[in-house]
């Protein structure tokens, strides 16, 4: 490129490219599979079907069935295979269709993958990514709607990633694939069609770095995954009502960027933590405790929590919709919090 061409290119940057969340996931996978032949995808209907969510469409055409491996309906089995393959030189990416199926793979994930490095005195490694989904309101009822990120966040040895935007999804998935630990990567199934700016080509987002999705002054809304968009919509409405809300997305539940959460809490003095997992003993409880511990003397009110209602996710829309935090609920709680009534 000549100097003149370079100057012209710099002066006229390409318009930012906008793609969907699922396209960002697929792009990260494809780029990593091109970069590293040890990376492969394994799961149910990941090849020609491209998963029921069509997230992986096109991968098998480029990489073949030897690296995009369709399995029987054997979640524990193929997760176990991935653990063994990871221990012996490969870098598997497991596709676990619904987060609810974590129940089926828990032994392989928790007793095997998470503990192998430690129990072997650091000799064995399990560079494995398990991609799965979370999120309700898809009318899928109690066994296809749960957000179980708290379960795996509890386990030493696992890394837990909860991207909320296409940009974060691509950058964090690349980091996950390059990491030498078992990583559970949650995708919001209702957010697969969400669009956002995503650079072409390579970039990686480090684990343990929260992102302030919207700066604000009066209240901090700490939100994860599917709840980030809820918090941003609430912040829009609050702004119309004269309240400046800061939205902070931890992006990874472990490692957790405690400093950014605490700093925001100290700045605003009011905090609501929002996560789509069950509220009881959930992610919100841990984040609220971290914030209370680090910012207690700067808080003007108790840290409030909003999680999914502590019920099995019901089918009927009128029932299901009330189980998940909405922007309206966040706005109402924020106003009560700022009024000293919550």
């Amino acid at each position: 490129m000549s100097t003149l061409e370079a100057l012209v290119a710099a002066a006229r940057p390409e318009a930012a490219r906008v793609i969907t969340f699922s396209q960002a996931v697929r792009e990260a996978l494809a780029e990593e599979m091109r970069r590293d032949e040890r990376v492969f995808v394994i799961g149910e209907d990941v090849a020609e079907a491209g998963t029921p969510f069509k997230v992986l469409s096109g991968l098998v055409e480029e990489f073949g069935p030897g690296r995009v491996i369709d399995t029987p309906i054997s979640e524990a089995g193929f997760t176990g295979l991935a653990v063994g393959a990871a221990m012996t030189g490969m870098r598997p990416v497991v596709d676990l269709m619904f987060g609810d199926f974590l129940t089926l793979v828990m032994d392989q994930l928790v007793n095997q993958a998470a503990k192998t490095h430690y129990m072997s005195g650091g000799k064995l490694r399990v560079p494995l990514v398990l991609r799965t989904t979370l999120g309700a309101t898809r009318r899928s009822a109690a066994q296809h709607s749960q957000s179980l990120q708290a379960w795996v966040s509890h386990v030493p040895g696992l890394i837990v990633v909860t991207p909320s935007t296409p940009y974060d999804a691509k950058g964090l998935l690349k980091t996950a694939i390059r990491n030498d630990n078992p990583v559970v990567f949650f995708e919001d199934k209702m957010g697969y069609t969400d669009k956002g700016e995503v650079p072409e080509g390579d970039y990686a987002i480090p684990f343990g770095v929260a992102d302030v999705k919207r700066p604000g002054e009066h209240v901090t809304l700490v939100a994860t995954s599917s709840m980030v968009q809820v918090a941003l919509k609430a912040a829009d409405e609050l702004a119309r009502q004269g309240v400046s809300a800061e939205v902070v997305d931890p992006r990874t539940l472990f490692p957790l960027d405690k400093e950014t959460l605490v700093a925001s809490a100290k700045k605003t003095g009011h905090v609501i933590v929002i996560d789509e997992g069950y509220e009881r003993y959930g992610v919100t409880a841990e984040l609220a405790a971290v914030i209370a511990d680090g910012a207690f003397y700067h808080l003007d009110a108790p840290v409030k929590r909003l999680g999914a209602m502590d019920v099995p996710v019901p089918f009927a829309p009128t029932l299901e919709d009330v189980t998940v935090p909405t922007p309206e609920v966040v706005v109402a709680l924020t106003k009560r919090l700022l009024a000293g009534e919550a």
Binding site: G66, F78, G84, A85, G89, M119, I159
Partner: protein, 333 residues
């Protein structure tokens, strides 16, 4: 292809004197290692407890003699035999049993989790059947990498009750993975006879998948070795997986503390296996009968192993415990 191999203790020995001595020595090393382990427990010198392999030595040695160093095994909570047979050092094993710093896992695993990746041992496993996925995944990895390695999954007959095993055997057969499932049927899962927990046959489980299935006298080290040698060679050449049921017996209880066990297993039965079907005694007799070793040479081998084990144990007992600062080391890579 579905085949069944009848147990056989007859026939001329098709091995060299050198191989015969090595096999004998390896079985004896397992036996002596575990005598010490039992004593350490009874003397209160070993933290926790352990599950002894004594009586089953011919399975581990017969299988591992058919493998190369770079081949993989996964092991069980009753795993000392597999670990020794795959090439581990007794001193580092004792150190691990005692929770000492130089142990194979730096004292973080103990008896039920010894791993020795340099010799292809991907680890013992305290979840019954829990390593079936790892072994099959190692075989998938070997196939994807074109490495020519074979994986052996050791499991007790108790693991037949676990769904994971059947899930991965199905995939292994579908995809012609180089993995051999070695079922050590020692007749008891914990404190229960296998007939009370196992419907149908062991081989039938593999046969239903179209998988090669064999049974073999697990007290006959050469019979085990012969079957495995053929299956490993076939698997290495793309011939796919197989299941081998080895009929064997554990002399001790489920674990070292399981001493009064007549309520589930008669003493006469234990005596019968110990006296008439001991794999080391039987093999020694065959070596002598075939003129491959003299009784004196075997006695010398035994003495040398006892010396090795005593020195290994002394090393481990003198070794330091890990520094408490290591508790957070290796949670993440």
């Amino acid at each position: 292809m579905i085949e069944t191999k009848e147990p056989s203790m007859s026939g001329a020995l098709r091995i060299s004197a050198e191989v015969g001595s090595r096999i004998y020595q390896q079985m004896w090393r397992i036996r002596v290692f575990e005598e010490h382990a039992n004593e350490l427990y009874l003397a209160g010198k070993m933290p926790g407890l352990t599950h002894l392999y004594t009586g089953q030595e011919a399975v581990a040695v017969g299988v591992c003699e058919a493998l190369q160093r770079e081949d993989y095994i996964t092991s069980t909570h009753r795993g000392h035999g597999h670990c020794v047979a795959k090439g581990a050092r007794l001193d580092l094993m004792f150190a691990e049993l005692l929770g000492r710093s130089p142990g194979y896992n730096r004292g973080k695993g103990g008896s039920m989790h010894i791993a020795d990746q340099e010799n292809g041992n991907l680890g013992a496993n305290a979840i019954v059947g829990g390593s079936a996925g790892i072994a099959t995944g190692a075989a998938l990895s070997a196939k994807m990498r074109g490495s020519g390695q074979v994986a052996v999954c050791f499991f007790g007959e108790g693991a037949l009750g676990q769904g994971l095993l059947h899930e991965v055997m199905n995939m292994a057969q579908l995809w012609d993975l180089p993995v051999i499932y070695v079922c050590e049927n020692n007749r008891y899962g914990e404190y229960t006879h296998f007939s009370e927990t196992t419907a149908g046959t062991v081989l039938g489980r593999a046969q239903a998948l179209g998988m090669k299935a064999f049974e073999v006298d697990g007290q006959d080290v050469l019979a085990v070795n012969e079957v495995l040698t053929q299956l490993v060679a076939a698997a290495r050449d793309g011939g796919g997986p197989a299941l081998v049921e080895c009929h064997t017996y554990r002399y001790h209880g489920h674990h070292v503390g399981d001493i009064n066990r007549e309520y589930y297993r008669p003493k006469a039965e234990e005596l019968e296996w110990r006296e008439k079907r001991d794999p080391i005694k039987l093999f020694g007799e065959r070596l002598v009968a075939a003129g491959l070793a003299s009784a004196e040479e075997l006695a010398a081998l035994q003495a040398a192993v006892r010396e090795e084990a005593a020195a290994a144990l002394a090393f481990a007992l003198a070794a330091p415990f890990p520094d408490p600062s290591e508790v957070t080391l290796h949670v993440y890579a």
